[in-house]
Subunit: 100 residues, 2 copies
């Protein structure tokens, strides 16, 4: 849990938005077709549509968020679903509260 690395993720409005959207996928995204509900998160395409940036940019963002352990990817067939890593997100906020 690296404060600086996670803060870098949060130093960008789109990435913060993605984290917020993934908190309530039902409210923020249309339902998936091939997967029940949002248990494994949201597919890249939906996130891209909502963010309005290019596919490669969103993929890069999601990758950086995964590297910071903020998101967990799950592959289902040709789709990758991303969901929040609540443990790390909580650990980050608690560390800030404590140490910062």
């Amino acid at each position: 849990m690296d404060i600086v690395e996670i803060s870098k993720v949060l130093a960008n409005k789109t990435r913060v938005d993605i984290l917020k959207w993934l908190k309530n996928p039902e409210e923020n995204f249309p339902p998936h077709q091939d997967i029940d509900h949002f248990d494994d998160g949201v597919c890249v395409g939906f996130i891209q549509d909502k963010a309005g940036l290019s596919q490669s940019t969103i993929s890069t963002y999601l990758n950086s968020m995964q590297n910071a352990d903020l998101l967990i990817p799950t592959r289902h067939g040709k789709w990758t679903y991303y969901r929040r890593n609540e443990e790390v997100i909580n650990a980050y906020v608690n560390t800030l509260k404590d140490k910062l």
Copy 2:
């Protein structure tokens, strides 16, 4: 209280260190000569010595932290003392806990 702007401040180890050091000035800095105690914070020179970066870099850092409302400057004669803005720091952490 801008999440992205504050996160940019925290996206750098030295700036995070400065915030931590200022939490306990007595432990982290030598006593000031011309001012009792650390009520108004710590002078730039001490922070610079501890951080080991150039004077202009530290001044730039402190300025960006002040712009993000994380630090409060007080001028005494030729010295500027910086202290933490605990309200904004707490508001930031609480906002993350709530909204993120």
